[in-house]
């Protein structure tokens, strides 16, 4: 048989082969892209679920813990403690604020900075007009997420109550706002 008469067949065969080859390449390429996208979607769904699960905590932190930008000087730190709202008096003259240090947990960062401060060494001393008020103030202070102290001592002397908060520190988040 001659090439001449089979030319349309050969051309058709060549075109079909070319088309199938290209289509196959395209299909493989698209399959890879689709798989990539599927992986991305799964990762993103997981991420979204994690974020959603974290949302209540995030809201809580947002509401109860300052960010480091809020604690740029002593005035703002003292204002943040806000002893007045518990009817406590804070002697500001002896206050020393140490350099903040990052808080880690099991060697991993928590995104929290610790601002240790005290007006009597490492302790923060606050005075209340009466014992019951100091007791109530202690309860509220120790439940605050942005305040940490290792021990609270309440002294009852001559009608005034003094609250010693040992190793007192204010906490702030490094999160973006």
């Amino acid at each position: 048989m001659s090439i001449q008469t089979k030319m349309p067949h050969l051309v058709a065969l060549a075109l079909s082969a070319l088309t199938i080859h290209s289509a196959h390449q395209f299909h493989v390429d698209m399959k890879q892209r689709i798989d990539q996208q599927t992986t991305l979607i799964q990762a993103r769904e997981e991420w979204n679920n994690q974020q959603a699960a974290m949302q209540p905590l995030k809201d809580k932190w947002q509401a109860t813990m300052p960010v480091v930008e809020d604690l740029i000087d002593q005035y703002r730190i003292i204002q943040r403690i806000n002893a007045m709202q518990y009817n406590l008096r804070l002697n500001e003259t002896g206050i020393v604020i140490a350099d903040p240090t990052p808080v880690t947990y099991n060697g991993k960062p928590t995104g929290i900075m610790r601002y240790p401060l005290g007006n009597q060494g490492a302790n923060l001393v606050l005075t209340a007009s009466d014992y019951a008020g100091a007791w109530q103030a202690l309860k509220e202070l120790q439940s605050r997420p942005d305040i940490r102290f290792s021990r609270a001592r309440l002294e009852n002397e001559k009608g005034t109550a003094t609250l010693y908060l040992e190793n007192f520190a204010l906490l702030a988040r490094t999160d973006a706002k």
Binding site: T5, T19, M30, N48, M54, Y105, G111, N156
Partner: protein
């Protein structure tokens, strides 16, 4: 389906140098005795041809053959510019009927003589005009075919019937035919080919060519006996189907990808504003806060309060100080958990005459234990006599 041997040809079998050659010019030749594996060269009355013309009325009963280009294997620009056209040919129905059976049963196959002529013409492609004479000498007449080529391109065929070769007027008829052609194409080369017996024709620029032109290096086009020729649109339809199928697959892929893309975009959009810190850090922070165990501190506070109320209700006892450990065991803050009791309480009480301070202290601890249910211990060296009248007792709860 696709018959590959038909497509590529059976080269060894169709090699005419190996088989016998027989010239077939009349229907009677087909019926005659042909040896097995013969290659039949079809010419004369068994075939009609037309260059770039509508078919003759005779072709209504003749069977059309695959179209040939009117030149062979010439894809030069010149040939294309001359607008190569197809050579239409048809074979006698009697031949067509028998092609398949003869091929299958005895390996006899048929080739058109015109293919060999076209191939031969390529030797003269540098000449402007070449006139190739071919034909079949029957007993009653000679089928005389003239092919006119321009630079190897077939432009015209003239089929005629003249006197038989044995007739005295044979040469005259030939000259008459040639002269009328040469009048149209002056100065043309004349080529005289087998199976016409060689003839001396003085006065012409003449070449004589023997039967070797029917020997093929490559398989020639075999005659096709099928009355319904294969649909020439089939290759195009098949290709179109492949293209459409490929496009469909591609379109499905693209739509699947677009869908995935949209899903992803929606997922990223719905939570675009929630990123405040990497999730790992937030999880560590949550773990850390759980480790802080505020419930434990709350419980201590409640215990201390209970004790405080009991002591406050007592007419003689007075609380001097209360200490509360607010750092839980799991607290990982940089300040080391000091080994201190959970709750410490210092009580001032009047001393009772006749009882040792230790006895008095344990009396108070027992009373508090009975009232609160808590386990209390008097601290080592926790009993101090302040004055004759007063004792200071420090009690710990772990």
């Amino acid at each position: 389906m696709l018959n590959l041997s038909r497509f590529f040809g059976r080269r060894a079998e169709s090699d005419t140098t190996r088989g016998h050659i027989a010239y077939l010019g009349e229907p009677a030749d087909i019926a005659g005795q042909l040896p097995d594996n013969t290659i039949g060269i079809v010419l004369g009355q068994l075939v009609v041809m037309a260059v770039d013309e509508p078919p003759h009325e005779i072709t209504n009963t003749f069977i059309p053959q695959p179209k040939r280009l009117n030149h062979r294997a010439d894809f030069s620009l010149k040939a294309l510019q001359q607008k190569a056209v197809a050579l239409n040919s048809s074979i006698h129905p009697l031949l067509a009927q028998q092609i398949e059976t003869l091929d299958k049963a005895r390996g006899i196959r048929f080739v058109l003589a015109v293919d060999a002529i076209c191939k031969l013409a390529q030797r003269y492609r540098r000449r402007k005009s070449v006139v190739i004479c071919n034909g079949y000498e029957a007993s009653e007449q000679t089928y005389f075919d003239i092919y006119i080529f321009h630079h190897g391109l077939l432009i015209k065929t003239i089929e005629s019937m003249i006197k038989p070769a044995s007739h005295v007027r044979y040469a005259m008829d030939v000259r008459q035919q040639l002269d009328s052609v040469l009048a149209e194409f002056p100065g043309a080369k004349v080529v005289w080919t087998a199976p016409l017996s060689q003839l001396d024709l003085p006065g012409y620029d003449l070449d004589l060519v023997g039967p070797e032109i029917y020997e093929y290096k490559f398989p020639p086009v075999m005659c096709d006996g099928r009355t319904t020729p294969p649909n020439p649109k089939i290759p195009a339809i098949a290709t179109a189907a492949v293209v459409v199928g490929s496009l469909a697959v591609g379109a499905l892929d693209v739509s699947a990808f677009v869908q995935k893309r949209q899903t992803y975009d929606q997922l990223t959009m719905s939570n675009a504003d929630t990123l405040s810190a990497p999730i790992e850090i937030l999880q560590t922070r949550a773990d850390w806060e759980r480790g802080n165990n505020t419930d434990l501190v709350d419980k201590r506070y409640a215990q201390a309060k209970t004790l405080f109320s009991i002591i406050a209700a007592h007419p003689e006892w007075r609380v001097q100080s209360i200490s509360l450990k607010t750092q839980a065991a799991g607290d990982a803050s940089p300040v080391a958990a000091v080994d201190i009791p959970s709750i410490s309480m210092t009580i001032i009480t009047p001393s009772t005459a006749g009882r040792t301070p230790t006895e008095q202290a344990h009396g108070i601890v027992d009373a508090l234990h009975n009232a609160s249910g808590m386990q209390l211990t008097v601290r080592q060296q926790g009993i101090t006599t302040i004055s004759e009248a007063q004792l200071r007792i420090t009690i710990d709860i772990d």
